[in-house]
Symmetry: C2
Subunit: 246 residues, 2 copies
């Protein structure tokens, strides 16, 4: 039996909590994790606040295989993720030599000043390793099981592309979606019976509402193809029975 690999995500940023910026990273990470067989178990969105970040990092890194953070690694005063992660891990936060060299060269090549603000982007917990950033050079980093990435979606996605091939992945969760023309009130009873009879599946029911009427998306999930097929057949039989009855 393959190990279950789990993950949590911490989205850092006042701008998400104020509604000013709509997060686009949660859905992307969720899809990537599902694709490679890692169970995303929890997401927390916290403010640009050291105590809040430290608490979330420490709660989640103990509990899950991987913790991914987004946001707060830029050059401004409200970018406090590197300091907060260092504090959570009990290591000093310092200018990383390799990152300083990388950024110094990058700005020199473009004839731009390597300001103190820009130097902030080279700060990392001592012992951290870089996560490549092919978009804007300034690297993310990981230390232990904590992966610290940018909040700007294009950069986050590039960093995640660099990270995913290095992760141990679990047995992929297979799934099949079945469109159901009935609302949950109709299928709730029989579907609960099917779930009971198929313990190796996780059957989800997602109500959809459009133009005054309900329909449902049913999703059967399993790590076994055989169990998945058996669950799907049972759900389809239920829908046929309901079609005859109505």
């Amino acid at each position: 039996m393959t190990e279950t690999v789990t993950a949590a995500m911490i989205v850092i940023g006042d701008e998400i909590l104020s509604g000013r910026t709509k997060d686009r990273n949660i859905g992307h990470l969720a899809e990537m994790m599902t694709a490679v067989g890692i169970d995303l178990k929890e997401v927390r969105i916290v403010a640009d606040d050291e105590d809040a970040i430290v608490e979330a990092v420490n709660a989640l890194r103990e509990r899950y295989t991987y913790v991914f953070t987004t946001g707060g690694i830029g050059p401004t005063h409200d970018d406090i993720t590197a300091d907060s992660v260092s504090k959570a891990l009990g290591v000093p936060c310092e200018h990383d030599e390799k990152a300083m060299a990388l950024l110094a060269e990058h700005y020199a090549r473009r004839g731009m000043e390597f300001t103190e603000a820009r130097q902030r982007m080279a700060r990392m917990p001592r012992g951290a390793e870089h996560i490549d950033n092919r978009i804007s050079i300034a690297p993310g980093f990981h230390i232990g099981n904590v992966y610290v990435m940018a909040g700007v979606p294009a950069i986050f996605q590039a960093m995640l592309d660099a990270v995913v091939p290095t992760l141990k992945t679990g047995q992929k969760l297979l799934s099949v979606a079945i469109t159901c023309p009935y609302g949950e009130g109709v299928i709730g009873g029989p579907l609960a019976e099917i779930q009971k009879a198929h313990p190796d599946t996780i059957i989800g029911s997602y109500p959809k509402y459009r133009d005054g009427s309900f329909w449902t998306e049913l999703v059967v999930r399993s790590r076994s193809q055989e169990a998945l097929d058996a669950g799907r057949v049972a759900v389809e039989a239920m829908l046929k029975d309901l079609a005859h009855a109505t």
Copy 2:
């Protein structure tokens, strides 16, 4: 000085964590809270798992003025929010009489059977009060400072419309956004100085990336109009200085 009113949100649902469904409720709640002067401090997305829901409800209801949940109150076996919230609060979860009557009448009027599955939607923690649902009748509920609402966005929004006028609200956080043509590396230093000189404001810097170049949205926030104006003037002066320098 007006009291600071705070809130947290718990989004309940495997379908969000798998990436199958993209959440649309966080941004809406965040905007509504900002509009009425309530500080949304934290959001957690958790699985359809009793322990996870209980832990999140208990952690957050102690800490914030209000806790809002979305998802998991439909009629199917994976809808376990009412049970989990009851467990968190240490009260029995039972069929609420008023909700049973409401739903019985609703289905009778439409000539539909009031199935056992549909009756699940009337289950609430003992002592809970209804949150009206003008879309699909089945009510949400609140008990203490915990507000339990639907996950389907149209229904969530209708329920939130019913809830917001009943909340105590804080002094509204005023804000002004200033478009800045420079990246954070340019403004990081002077902006940190402005933040230091204007302690009654919260100045946020949000990097934007498009077509290979960076710009920044700067947001000055304050509960005082005077402090806000002073912060805005300082930021605009910084931008003018930079324009002269380049």
